[in-house]
């Protein structure tokens, strides 16, 4: 097992270098950079030439992309992710606290998604074709179809403007409530559907019928015998969804003014502040790779029949 994990970790290094290389090549194709973006619509480039040239030189933007790439990789290995042209702060200072915020939002939303999604999936499967099943299936269809930004604005309208339960710009722990619930409810929808179909399949198996015939109480039947077997399918979808959650967090963060990586990424792209976008891509892909690894390891825990050491 340990060998497997180490092998997987070693494989992430070429993956991340590849991602960086691609972003550097794309960047070199884009006709503008953070320095010119700062002058947009204010000062013509001719007028600002001295300043633009000096700033480009200061940030090494006047060098060919492969030289910049070399500097960047050397820097990253030493823990230096570069400096933002726009804010002149180290990239790690810009990303650091926002990364924690995004993780916080993502995991809070995941918790909401798991509780709501798995529970309503179980209920829908257990009471198949009842009104509860129909309601859960219909609501989850809305959840899957609803664009995150629209749902987010709807939530703000209802809870902040009409009901006035929470401020539009909340502070402290209440700030987490609306964005996490919005994101979590959207992601709960596919979870509910997967849980429902996995549970339905298992509840129909012969051993379940046998257990019921032997008089196993319904609760034990559901939670001890059926659910653990359905969880494998749920774990697979959760693994996929974390990527989706982080992507959804980008939109939700902008709407709710949640200071996360996504909100910063949107700005950094507008600003052409590539030091920040690269930092986010780097940290984002490392996170994604790690989460996938964790999910793969979790499989073996959920289903002991899976054994990676053989492969």
């Amino acid at each position: 097992m340990l060998g497997y994990i180490l092998r997987r970790l070693a494989l992430t290094v070429p993956v991340i270098i590849g991602i960086l290389l691609v972003t550097f090549v794309i960047k070199s194709l884009i006709p503008t950079d953070a320095v010119t973006a700062m002058f947009q619509g204010q000062v013509t480039e001719q007028e600002a030439k001295v300043a633009i040239d000096a700033m480009r030189h200061q940030f090494g933007l006047d060098q060919p992309w492969y030289i910049q790439f070399g500097h960047y990789v050397t820097g990253v290995v030493q823990g230096d992710f570069g400096t933002s042209v726009r804010t002149r702060r180290p990239v790690l200072d810009e990303i650091g606290f926002r990364y924690l915020n995004t993780l916080e939002l993502t995991f809070a939303a995941l918790l909401v998604a798991l509780v709501v999604g798995v529970l309503s999936g179980i209920i829908a499967a257990y009471r198949r074709d009842s009104w509860m099943d129909v309601t859960a299936t219909t609501v989850s269809l809305f959840g899957i179809s609803m664009p995150a930004f629209f749902f987010g604005l709807l939530v703000i309208m209802v809870f902040s403007v009409w009901l006035k339960w929470l401020p539009v710009m909340p502070r402290g722990w209440t700030a987490l409530l609306l964005p996490a619930a919005t994101l979590g409810l959207i992601e709960a929808a596919p979870l509910a559907r997967v849980t429902r179909s996995a549970m339905l399949e298992i509840l129909g198996r012969d051993y379940m019928r046998a257990a019921r015939a032997k008089g196993v109480p319904e609760r034990a039947l559901l939670f001890r015998h059926a659910l653990p077997n359905a969880l494998l399918a749920v774990a697979t979808i959760v693994g996929l969804q974390i990527g989706h959650l982080i992507g959804g967090a980008f939109i939700i963060e902008v709407i709710f003014g949640w200071r996360g990586v996504g909100e910063l990424a949107v700005r950094a792209i507008e600003w052409r502040d590539f030091a920040i976008t690269q930092g986010i891509i780097l940290i984002g892909s490392a996170t994604f790779v790690t989460i996938n690894l964790v999910i793969d390891v979790l499989y073996t825990w959920i289903d002991p029949r899976i054994d990676y050491s053989a492969g």
């Binding site: 884009i30 006709p31 503008t32 010119t36 973006a37 700062m38 002058f39 947009q40 619509g41 204010q42 000062v43 013509t44 480039e45 001719q46 007028e47 600002a48 030439k49 001295v50 300043a51 633009i52 000096a54 700033m55 200061q58 726009r86 804010t87 002149r88 702060r89 810009e94 606290f97 926002r98 924690l100 915020n101 993780l103 916080e104 995991f107 604005l153 703000i156 309208m157 902040s160 403007v161 006035k164 401020p167 539009v168 710009m169 502070r171 402290g172 722990w173 700030a175 902008v254 709407i255 709710f256 003014g257 200071r259 909100e263 910063l264 700005r267 507008e270 600003w271 052409r272």
Partner: protein, 517 residues
């Protein structure tokens, strides 16, 4: 671990209790990248720096004339190359150090020093040196006369920072700015909010300020809200004292009795259509003029700006010194499809059997470029397209975000672009239209170039305004670009807000604002 992170975040965000009646809450569309005036040309950063942190040597009164602020008087040498300012005494920066001529000189020297790579190098023209022979005398010496200098001096960019603080914080000064302004920076949570507290020793020297004493509000919180819909919600819930929202959201707000709308119609922006004169058809002045006549500006104002703009026939916005409404009336190209058609015919473009304009059997097809991300721009483009289609001209709209759009204009493969420019000075005409133009698309015209260059050298305002009138006339005569409109500055405030007003260059005088309970 998770708990600990959460706890840390809570501590980070905990905000001390505040007296609601004394705190103003405003919206920021984006987080400024820095609050060091000499390191930015961003509108947002300059709005914040100008309103709270830095006072300037001069301000412009309601009629567009420079008036003393941190300076008390000035003289201009006969050759207009040397400007000598007398400065106030007894003014202190909020770090306790003295404001004087040496401090001001330090700021301008910093900008002049090329190794500091200040973007303001683009705005000081031929400034050669700054001298401070004594505490109250500041002398600017130019290589050649530089007319826009007064309006630049009045802008936040040329406010005076504390040299002591600049030296103390070095590269991090932009996060720790110190000026002589009405407020002091208290805290700045990047991307979230900026909090200012009143400067307890502030002296208001501006003649156009309503409140000559200390600023009314003790605290001002600026919250970053990038989403229009969220800003609107925060105004409606009462969380924001004031803020701007997009034109199409205003209808709901106008109906809300808890809010009021403050409209500024004297503005410094212009939306206009530019032509690529380097190849046909726009190398022909008649075709450029014809397109000017084809534009239904009233329709754009109504459909794209929801009525919160005024049509423009002249090339200079009405908030820029030198503006003259009569020029647009006299030389402009008001909406007149018949005239447009006649001019096209004169240039050789006549309707074919399918109704499409063509010359020598080749139909006229135009490309129209602009920047993406703004509903107002998208709608304007559609109206221009349909105006042209009414005359039998096919046009293709191409939009991309500014960072891709603006550089793409340097490749000469386009015909027209829709552009919006904001400037507080008439030098914007020279920046944009003096050949070869800001995107290498304007043909040399010795007469017009001479006027545009001359306007840049007249420091005396009366002389300069005369020149700016000439420049506006020439630009319309040559149809270098087709003005469309200026959009208004619309601010929404809570109904109980008093004293919210803007100065000549659309800056807020925050010390004047108070809320009635």
């Amino acid at each position: 671990m998770f708990k600990r992170i959460l706890l840390a975040l809570l501590l980070l965000w905990a905000i001390p209790a505040r007296a609601a009646d004394e705190t103003l809450h405003f919206r920021l569309g984006e987080d400024p990248e820095t609050l060091f005036s000499a390191k930015t040309v961003s509108l947002t950063a300059n709005q914040v720096i100008g309103a709270y942190l830095l006072d300037r040597l001069v301000y412009f009164d309601a009629d567009g004339h420079p008036q003393p602020w941190l300076a008390t008087s000035w003289t201009i040498s006969p050759d207009q190359r040397v400007l000598t300012f007398k400065l106030r005494t007894g003014v202190k920066f909020t770090d306790g150090t003295d404001f004087n001529a040496q401090a001001a000189k330090y700021n301008y020297d910093w900008i002049l020093d090329k190794k500091n790579a200040s973007p303001l190098l683009a705005r000081i023209g031929s400034l050669q040196k700054v001298d401070a022979p004594d505490d109250t005398t500041l002398i600017f010496t130019f290589d050649k006369p530089f007319a826009p200098f007064f309006s630049y001096l009045a802008s936040a960019s040329f406010g005076i920072n504390s040299p002591t603080a600049m030296a103390k914080y070095g590269d991090q000064y932009g996060r720790n700015p110190v000026g002589t302004g009405p407020y002091m920076l208290k805290s700045w949570v990047p991307g979230t909010e900026i909090t200012f507290v009143r400067n307890p020793h502030y002296q208001q020297f501006r003649g156009d300020a309503l409140n000559k004493g200390l600023p009314y509000a003790s605290t001002v919180v600026l919250t970053v809200i990038s989403e229009e819909a969220v800003a609107q919600a925060a105004l409606e819930s009462g969380e924001l004292t004031a803020g701007s929202v997009a034109a199409d959201a205003l209808d709901n707000i106008v109906k809300n009795p808890a809010l009021k709308v403050v409209i500024n119609k004297t503005v410094t922006n212009l939306l206009f259509l530019e032509f690529n004169e380097t190849h046909p058809p726009f190398d022909d002045e008649r075709v450029r003029r014809a397109v000017g006549y084809a534009l239904d500006r009233e329709a754009v104002v109504k459909a794209a700006y929801n009525g919160y703009a005024h049509p423009m026939l002249g090339p200079l916005a009405n908030g820029i010194p030198g503006y003259d409404a009569a020029i647009g009336e006299k030389y402009g190209t008001p909406f007149n499809p018949a005239k447009a058609k006649a001019l096209f015919a004169e240039a050789g473009y006549k309707p074919g059997p399918d109704g499409k304009l063509a010359k020598d059997g080749k139909p006229l097809a135009l490309s129209l470029k602009s920047y993406s991300g703004f509903e107002t721009i998208n709608r304007t483009l559609s109206i221009i397209q349909s105006n042209l289609a009414d005359l039998g001209i096919d046009s293709k709209i191409e939009t991309a975000d500014w960072g891709s759009f603006y550089p793409s204009l340097l490749k000469p493969d386009w015909d027209m672009d829709l552009m919006r420019w904001t400037s507080s000075d008439a030098s914007v005409l020279t920046s944009i239209a003096r050949s070869p133009g800001h995107r290498n698309m304007t043909l040399a015209n010795s007469k017009q170039d001479e006027i545009l260059d001359r306007c840049q050298t007249l420091v005396d305002q009366a002389q300069r305004n005369g020149c700016v009138v000439e420049a506006q006339t020439s630009l319309l005569e040559t149809a270098t670009f087709a003005p469309i409109l200026s959009d208004w500055l619309v601010t929404i405030t809570q109904a109980n807000v008093k004293g919210y007003h803007l100065d000549y260059f659309n800056g807020v005088i925050v010390g004047d604002i108070q809320t009635e309970s």
